[in-house]
């Protein structure tokens, strides 16, 4: 309890902690909502791949002395295109193409970061440190998440229909390819802005764990997005608390918080909880 009060007082007193709080909250909400489309489209592995593939972009951005977001987004898109190209031009299956490309990009990224003399902390890139997020990066995060939420509001019906039934969407003349590319770009952008907070290794968990938890709680997609946003935000704040209080890498504890919530819901959700269903079966 004392540590909670201490955390609250620190939030009031230290601006760097407030900044970390808001950036975690915004990312929790953004990743939670975006994650609903990712898991329902079966793109979880793709999200994981892109988060690893952006690392060489971060290193090259440093070499070229440009904002790391630019290089990261470029490499994220390059990786997505590469995976698609291999799949479409060979008999190799999608998951194999993803595995080949993202591991190669990850290896290249680690090579570049360890060999070039850079101040980039590999540990921060891989596991995240929300306390080191700079003002410009915070602004980029807010703009990115706001843009993604606006796009979802504007294109909600197109995104929903192309996710649920892409064939009907195509037959009835909806711009399926455009929506698919837009979602891949949104995925890349939210992955990149989450790097500093959650880290490349674990960012996919922020995208899929809150969404998967929400999926177990409701049978309606809009409610799923709300639940996922709330779960993402709660996990981010709990994670930040443990990160600051016990000096732990923020990404690791945020992801563990989300995993604990998932585990709780997995067993106890009113409709789909394993334990609840078991008890119901026993009673009947």
């Amino acid at each position: 309890m004392n540590s909670l009060i201490g955390f609250y007082e620190d939030l009031i007193n230290y601006s760097f902690l407030r900044d970390a709080f808001f950036v975690s909250l915004v990312l929790g909400v953004g990743c939670g909502i975006m994650g609903c489309f990712i898991i329902m489209r079966g793109l979880s592995l793709m999200g994981d791949a892109i988060s690893h593939a952006v690392i060489p972009g971060v290193a090259i951005s440093y070499i070229l002395k440009i904002n790391y977001l630019v290089g990261a987004v470029a490499f994220g898109v390059l990786a997505a295109l590469g995976m698609g190209y291999i799949k479409e031009n060979s008999k190799i299956k999608n998951d194999t193409a993803i595995g080949i490309v993202f591991s190669a990009f990850l290896a290249l990224g680690i090579l570049l970061i360890t060999k070039i003399e850079s101040p980039i902390d590999l540990n921060n890139i891989l596991f995240g440190n929300v306390l080191t997020v700079k003002a410009g990066e915070r602004l980029a995060t807010y703009i990115a998440v706001a843009s993604i939420l606006i796009l979802i509001l504007l294109f909600y019906k197109e995104m929903l229909l192309t996710t649920f039934d892409p064939i009907m969407a195509k037959v009835s003349g909806l711009p399926v390819k455009f929506i698919n590319y837009m979602i891949m770009t949104m995925l890349t952008i939210i992955t990149v802005v989450s790097l500093q907070t959650v880290g490349a290794i674990l960012v996919v968990a922020m995208l899929i764990t809150p969404a998967a938890t929400a999926y177990l709680l409701t049978n309606q997609f809009k409610k799923m997005m709300w639940f996922s946003a709330i779960i993402g935000a709660v996990a981010a704040i709990i994670g930040l608390y443990f990160s600051v209080t016990y000096n732990l890498p923020s990404g690791v504890v945020i992801v563990l918080s989300a995993a604990v919530i998932f585990t709780f819901v997995f067993f106890l959700s009113p409709k789909n909880g394993i334990l609840i269903n078991y008890i119901k079966d026993k009673k009947q």
Partner: protein
């Protein structure tokens, strides 16, 4: 009039599903597409809709069919849809109105009314707040047809809508299809079985890699055309059905 000229569907690897199909099809009729398994029935529909690699030309009312995309409803096989998707029957049917909504527009009263009407017509009112995974196969097939109705299209393409559903669901669907045709809509149905061909369809398109026969059911549903269409795959069941048909 729907005109199909020299339509061929060739899948990657050079597999020819259908070759050089030419058809002129009038509006306001129910067409049954029948043929053996692997004979290209679904490929013909998918080729017309440009869902698979194709060659040839498809026009409707003298213009490219793609110009009428908002007026085309495709009721695919129900097992190709994720039934665990978190949406209710109402939300699923409401999606039928999306193609006619402009970019950035949300569904309003008019779209909700069209959705309610379609749900009622298919006898799904009591299920409208249920998640789609909680329905039987036949009920879900009715939901897919209701979604197509909510779109209010000119052309309906249905891929085996009677597959794996019970008699009650089948009769509800057939009644709605016949009402659609009476209102001038054109309906194409890929049909796996051979029974019910006479009462269900106005015209038949018999397919086995190419169009073997096309015309009114009375003229096309002949033993000779059956042998030409089903030849090697002619099952004993077919012989029984032919006998039944001839008796009818």
């Amino acid at each position: 009039m729907l005109e199909i000229k020299e339509l061929s569907v060739v899948y990657p690897g050079g597999v020819h599903a259908i070759t050089n199909v030419n058809l002129s099809l009038s509006e306001g009729l129910v067409y049954g597409v029948i043929g053996p398994s692997g004979g290209g029935k679904s490929s013909l529909i998918k080729g017309i809709l440009d869902l698979v690699p194709r060659k040839g030309e498809v026009t409707f009312r003298g213009r490219k069919l793609s110009d009428f995309s908002k007026s085309i409803a495709y009721v695919e096989q129900s097992d190709s849809i994720d039934r665990n998707f978190p949406i209710t029957v109402f939300q699923c049917v409401l999606m039928g109105t999306y193609p006619n909504l402009k970019l950035f527009r949300k569904s309003g009263i008019q779209e909700r009314k069209a959705t309610e009407d379609a749900i009622e017509l298919l006898g799904l009112s009591e299920y409208k707040n249920r998640q789609i995974g909680e329905l039987s196969g036949g009920q879900f097939q009715r939901v897919l047809l209701a979604r197509a109705l909510a779109q209010n299209p000119l052309l309906y393409f249905m891929d085996e809508p009677f597959e794996g559903i019970d008699v009650h669901n089948e009769s509800v669907i057939v009644k709605v299809i016949q009402e659609l045709a009476a209102r001038g809509k054109t309906v194409f149905i890929v049909h796996h079985g051979l029974d019910k061909v006479i009462p269900y369809f106005d015209e038949l398109i018999m397919v086995n890699q190419k169009v073997i026969a096309h015309g009114t059911v009375e003229k096309t549903f002949t033993k000779e055309n059956f042998y030409k269409t089903f030849h090697n795959q002619l099952p004993s069941l077919f012989k029984e059905e032919t006998t039944t048909i001839q008796q009818n």
